[in-house]
């Protein structure tokens, strides 16, 4: 066959699976895993996760698979749904900037779901995670940007493939069976952007994980799919105009996973340069009561996507660049607490938001911003951000990533938990299994 993207793709996956992960890929995988464990734990006590767990328990879906940040153990399917959903819930998980795929959520969920029965050693866990993310991203690149632009939530649609590859690796599928797993997964793609703003958005990677695991299981049992599911007769041309060359590219050069980025703030990425500027200006500003006006020069997308002036709750606050800048100036940090329903309406925040003027400038790059804080009886404070933290030119440092995860997990697991999780993730390559990670991500049994 002269043209068989799936065959080439799966052969490349197997080749990569049989070689040690390149150092840069291994580092990217560990950072992505650490971050996505943090976001899954950070969302473990939300209403959405409670609703999922209640449903799982109603269905009798308890089992041997642990859920990060929770005491419950569920069956593989429901553990996958809960973990994948929690990981993406606050939109704070890893982001591949070119495709806007959040690859870690569905893949983490698939790997955790199958770990108790496949007993992978630590290095196989990392490989499964890296392969699942990379497969997902490469398929995403082949259908970007038109697929997302049309309205598909690419994290769901591509998530099924990433989860199938990670699960297929853990189940020991060869290239041919892996192709069938992808074909089976292609009949269960999901995710409409209409669901944005509801609990169903994060459900997409959760269900994608469950679909991918089931697809890999069925392929392992011998179920077959039509030939070349990633090719012209498959689902990809239904989604977009695929660039098949992207699927057939070798895996020996740079991996897409290396471009996976980590958001420092739990809101739309366009406002991140402005938040950096506000947080940077905060120590010099002094008494917030002395602020008379704030001018924020930014990319035109900032007011377009995050133009809300006075949000009424935490969710709305995530769509307000003025809110983000105000809490950055007042609190000197911008985490989940700054987007709580309470903080969204507090008097000091409301007052300061009203003083902030967004000045969109076509000359301002997307990852830049300048803040000018005018004060009564003092010189203005001016901070310019060239490249925002978490952007391609200024990735989050390991320390910044640690701080982020620490703040996410501390309210759920207590002080010191992030340090344990990081040690377990960093030690995976030489670990006999996933036990240290599991122990670190679960609450201690009540004393």
């Amino acid at each position: 066959m002269p043209f068989a993207p799936t065959q080439v793709f799966c052969t490349n996956v197997r080749k990569a699976a049989d070689a040690p992960l390149p150092d840069a890929v291994s580092r990217a995988a560990r950072r992505s895993l650490f971050n996505v464990l943090g976001t899954a734990i950070g969302a473990a006590r939300t209403e959405a996760v409670a609703a999922l767990i209640a449903t799982a328990e109603e269905l009798g879906a308890t089992g041997a698979v642990p859920v990060p940040g929770r005491r419950e153990s569920l069956d593989p399917e429901w553990a996958a749904i809960v973990t994948g959903t929690a990981a993406h819930l606050d939109d704070f998980d890893d982001t591949h900037l070119a495709t806007v795929i959040h690859p870690g959520a569905a893949v983490l969920a698939a790997v955790l779901a199958l770990a108790p029965e496949t007993r992978p050693d630590g290095s196989a866990v990392l490989t499964a995670f890296a392969l699942g993310c990379e497969a997902q991203l490469r398929i995403g690149v082949a259908i970007s940007p038109s697929h997302y632009d049309r309205g598909w939530h690419i994290t769901g649609t591509c998530g099924v493939f990433g989860a199938a590859v990670a699960a297929g690796y853990l189940l020991g599928l060869d290239a041919e069976r892996l192709g069938h797993a992808l074909g089976i997964a292609s009949t269960g793609t999901l995710g409409h952007r209409e669901a944005f703003g509801s609990m169903t958005k994060p459900l997409h990677p959760g269900k994608a994980a469950a679909v991918g695991v089931s697809a890999a299981r069925l392929a392992a049992a011998g179920l077959t799919a039509p030939e070349d599911p990633l090719g012209p007769g498959g689902v990809l041309p239904v989604f977009s105009e695929p660039v098949y060359d992207e699927l057939q590219r070798g895996w020996d050069a740079t991996w897409e996973l290396e471009y996976n980025a980590f958001k420092p703030y739990p809101c739309g990425i366009v406002a991140h340069p402005a938040i950096d500027a506000a947080v940077g200006a905060s120590p010099a500003v002094g008494d917030p009561g002395a602020i008379t006006a704030v001018e924020l020069t930014c990319h035109p997308l900032v007011p377009e996507l995050m133009g809300r002036l006075q949000p009424a709750d935490g969710l709305q606050a995530r769509f307000s660049a003025r809110h983000a800048a105000a809490v950055g100036l007042l609190d000197g940090e911008v985490g989940l607490r700054q987007f709580s329903d309470e903080r969204a309406v507090e008097a000091d925040v409301t007052r300061l938001r009203a003083l902030i003027q967004l000045v969109p400038s076509p000359d301002c790059p997307r990852d830049s911003a300048t803040i000018r804080v005018a004060r009564a009886g003092a010189e203005p404070v001016v901070v310019h951000v060239e490249h925002a933290r978490g952007s391609a030119d200024r990735p989050l440092t390991d320390d910044e990533l640690f701080t982020k995860v620490d703040r996410l997990v501390e309210p759920v697991l207590g002080a010191g938990a992030a340090r344990k999780i990081l040690a377990a993730v960093d030690g995976l390559a030489g670990a006999p299994g996933l036990d240290a990670v599991i122990e670190a991500v679960r609450p201690e049994v009540a004393k």
């Binding site: 609703a51 449903t55 009798g60 309205g151 269960g188 409409h192 509801s198 695991v213 179920l223 041309p237």
Partner: protein, 198 residues
Amino acid sequence: MIGTDAVLELVHAPVGEQAVRTADGALAKVRAAEPEPLLRVGVSASSTTGRAWLFGAAASRTSVEWAAVVAAVLALDAGAEAVAAGSAAARTVAEALGPPHVAAGWCLETTAGVVGAAAAAARVLGLRDKAVRYAIGIAATQASGLEAVRGTQLGAVQVARAAAAGVEAALLARNGFTAAEDPLAGRRGMYALMSAPR
């Protein structure tokens, strides 16, 4: 233009005698069928969604219309009226999707079918108001399945998955899980993504 509300209204609407008779026949056929052993892999037969999967796999070996709807209702131990209502919802979604949907490669039996299955389950569970809307929304965003595999073993998998997802959507909505307000006719909803000419 057939909006989301038109489908929501069908969930608790009265159903005709003829539709109930047809549904009774479909229920009997699926009860008498068995899923292929391969399709039992990884499925918990003790849970309602697992049962929906297995009935879906069995239903796809019969000639019943809206197999996913019939399977969802059987999993919930309910009867013909729910099948009739779910089928009416599926038919309405199918009509709204129109010919471009199948031409693009989608399988109506499972795309409209998952919404119909959620509608039937919402009726059985007695969901009201927002919960009905969200059950339909949770299902709609999962609409999938390819015409190319219809009638194959993999075709049975996609029917099974649709039946289970429909039941699951209604259970999730009952537990307070939220979804889009206008999942079918919204700007980035099911109809826009899955039937608009490209």
